[in-house]
Subunit: 437 residues, 2 copies
């Protein structure tokens, strides 16, 4: 295996020359073989060992084993211990996910602080095959079939194209010692079943199975990248990221695609949505309907689906403003100052007769049934909802409007229109300028 390995390294990782390598070493068969192989190559290597403290005394046994190996072989070593279970509980994730998170965070930290170039892990071909078959048995999408890549940023798997058999043989031939890992029992049951019963049949049907499987997986990886290409290209045609942090999906364009649901799925999965049927119905459903994930919501608004953070809307809140306050920052930035005359009028500033106001002022969302007297309409009343309609506000935009009130009367539809009742008149003595932003 060593000769094949050397050629493999030269062909696949020509950039290894002169680099400093951090080898993730659990003490198990695969990582001990990887370590032994790299010792033969005289690279500038170090060992990184994580003690996840998941198997009590056994975990410390692994740690001692690896530390001892490093000592005997005079290899620099970094060791850390994690309270994996507490971390998993804190973040409500599985122990497995927690361990991965902790491990890679620490590896990347070490790269930085200790000036190493790459992290090397000992995944091999059978790992990918087993994961493929585990995912097949459970049901999966294309992502579940593409496997771990040979390189992902600074993490490199130099023996990913080698089989378990080759690795075992190498260990035997070179008298390599390792620690058996008894963890991960539930996954191991499935993995062992697959390893001992499924894979031998596949290898019997095709003696070159492992190598043809690697080609298969390469093809699937290529297909996955093309799926991502399509996802991005269609996104560029259909989605518009607004300045306010929302994304508008143009349904007219989207629904021209017979497979628009596939694209919605690809775009929205990273926002934590899971009610896919509801989302697909939304596209064809009534304006105003919405679907939520933990942190996002998708709103159907006429010809658009609008994606926004859930906390984007704080409908329930009201804010009181005292007379002495000269500035507000929450829920939006407003400043109040006395002026002697009216200067430039704009949507972002109004001038009111301070003596007509009754403090504290109230800043709130609009409500169904709100009326006001739009400035410049000679005292005529208008429903706020009608005003919004005339201004062609989307549902989301409406929800984000703030209303400044004095004693239940609207003073300002903030940023849009002042009320006539509080305007400056000839008799006004104290002019208050209220400025947005």
């Amino acid at each position: 295996m060593l000769e094949k390995f050397k050629i493999h390294i030269a062909q696949n990782f020509p950039f290894f020359d002169g680099k400093k390598m951090l080898l993730a070493t659990s003490g198990g068969l695969d990582s001990m073989v990887l370590l032994h192989l790299f010792q033969q190559l005289y690279f500038d290597i170090a060992i990184a060992h994580c003690n996840f403290q998941l198997r009590g005394i056994e975990s410390f046994g692994d740690q001692n084993f690896v530390q001892n190996y490093a000592l005997v072989n005079t290899i620099p070593i970094f060791v850390t211990q994690f309270d994996t279970k507490a971390f998993a509980a804190d973040y409500k994730i599985s122990t497995q996910v927690a361990a991965r998170e902790l491990r890679y965070n620490w590896f990347y930290e070490l790269l930085e602080t200790e000036k190493y170039d790459f992290i090397l892990t000992a995944h091999h071909a059978d790992d990918n095959l087993e994961t493929f078959l585990i995912n097949l048995s459970r049901g999966t999408g294309l992502e579940g079939f593409t496997g771990i890549p040979q390189q992902n940023d600074k993490v490199i798997r130099p023996i990913l194209s080698f089989s378990r058999q080759e690795i075992e043989n190498y260990a035997k031939e070179n008298g390599i010692q390792w620690r058996e890992d008894s963890s991960n029992a539930s996954d191991k049951y499935l993995r062992n079943k697959i390893r001992h019963h499924l894979i031998p049949i596949l290898k019997e049907l095709n003696p070159n199975f492992i190598s043809s499987f690697q080609k298969t997986q390469n093809y699937l990886q290529e297909a996955q990248v093309m799926v991502e290409d399509a996802t991005i290209m269609i996104y560029q045609q259909v989605a518009k990221e607004q300045g306010d942090g929302t994304i508008h999906f143009d349904l007219k364009k989207l629904q021209q695609l017979p497979n628009f649901k596939s694209y919605l799925y690809q775009w929205l999965k990273e926002y934590g949505f899971s009610a896919w049927d509801d989302i697909y119905d939304l596209a064809e459903g009534q304006s105003g309907k919405q679907v939520f994930s933990a942190e996002f919501r998708l709103l159907k608004d006429r010809n658009f689906l609008i994606l926004s953070p859930v906390n984007f809307v704080t409908n329930e809140k009201e804010f009181l403003l005292d007379k002495e306050q000269h500035e507000v920052n929450i829920p939006l930035k407003l400043s109040f100052c006395k002026v002697s005359d009216i200067s430039a009028v704009s949507n972002s500033a109004i001038f009111v007769d301070e003596d007509k106001l009754q403090f504290p002022l109230l800043l709130r969302r609009w409500r169904e049934g709100d009326y006001f007297q739009p400035f410049g309409m000679e005292g005529k009343s208008k429903k706020v909802s009608k005003f919004f309609k005339d201004e062609k506000l989307s549902l989301l935009e409406k929800e984000n409007v703030w209303i400044l009130c004095s004693n239940d009367q609207i003073v300002w539809i903030v940023g849009m229109r002042q009320d006539d009742r509080f305007r400056i008149e000839n008799t006004t003595k104290n002019i208050l300028k209220i400025q947005l932003g």
Copy 2:
């Protein structure tokens, strides 16, 4: 199964109402169950049976069995016999591919002539699963994992979501009879191994395996459509179909994509190419290099890959033209006629002094070393290759130029430039107009 089947039909094929169905019926278990199910639905059905004559007396036994069933049940029946082996030999295809080709051609013919609406086949969930695992064992790309679709144009598989077990149970419960098919032994060996050894393990690992596998396959089908979307979108950005039947791929645009090889593969596979490494090298290789498939060639020409039919170029051929010929059609259309005066001059017609010509004229490709005296250059000689370069002709365009010669002297670079030596002069008595197209 009947109740589940009825619901399935109502939900998935609401358009079946009032339609006429042609049931592909081999006489095997699956097709006899499909037939029995449709008899319970009182659809307007007929049987279509193909006798491929691949198993001698057995094939005729199947035919008799199906014909007898149709007679007893008073179902209209269409039967045909194919010389499948001869067809396969004629077209150099496998017996299996030949049988499929013959079968579907005949089905579609029947739809037309006998006014049926749909062809129904009896593929079921285990067929797709077995094919998936066969392809996995051999190595495949995403296409090999997507399975047969439930509907493909007018071919519908109404029991594709039912398992073999359900079908067998239904056959038992309803005392349905069928013929065992002993054909396809080689594929059957693999299929049986997979059916009896692999699939039971997968079902043991996950009792809902068949249904989660169907979801898996749906996801993969969606991914496959997105791959096709990407293939088309990138093609539109990179490829230009020329009027002359060639396709030019812009390498500068193409190579901006890190995965451009995936796209080349998708575009070119249907042209019968297989030397993929050579093709990928071509993209980075020297101008003038080319790769061939049986019927096409791909030529690297500066910043382009040019795809053209192989027979596009007939370099070796020369054509002699007699004085009596007034028209040529091969290798291109030329007409000769005497005129009294020069009319409109264009690239597609020249006027020459007939008496300067020496018949027969010769029509041939250009050769390295060809010289001519371009019209309007006062008798100066020029290398044809230099002329082409100045005209910015691509390699392929050069190869497609024809040259008209008289006694080894160039008269016309057809469609491009006349030679000065054969032009009309004051002394000319007989004017010959040579017209292209």
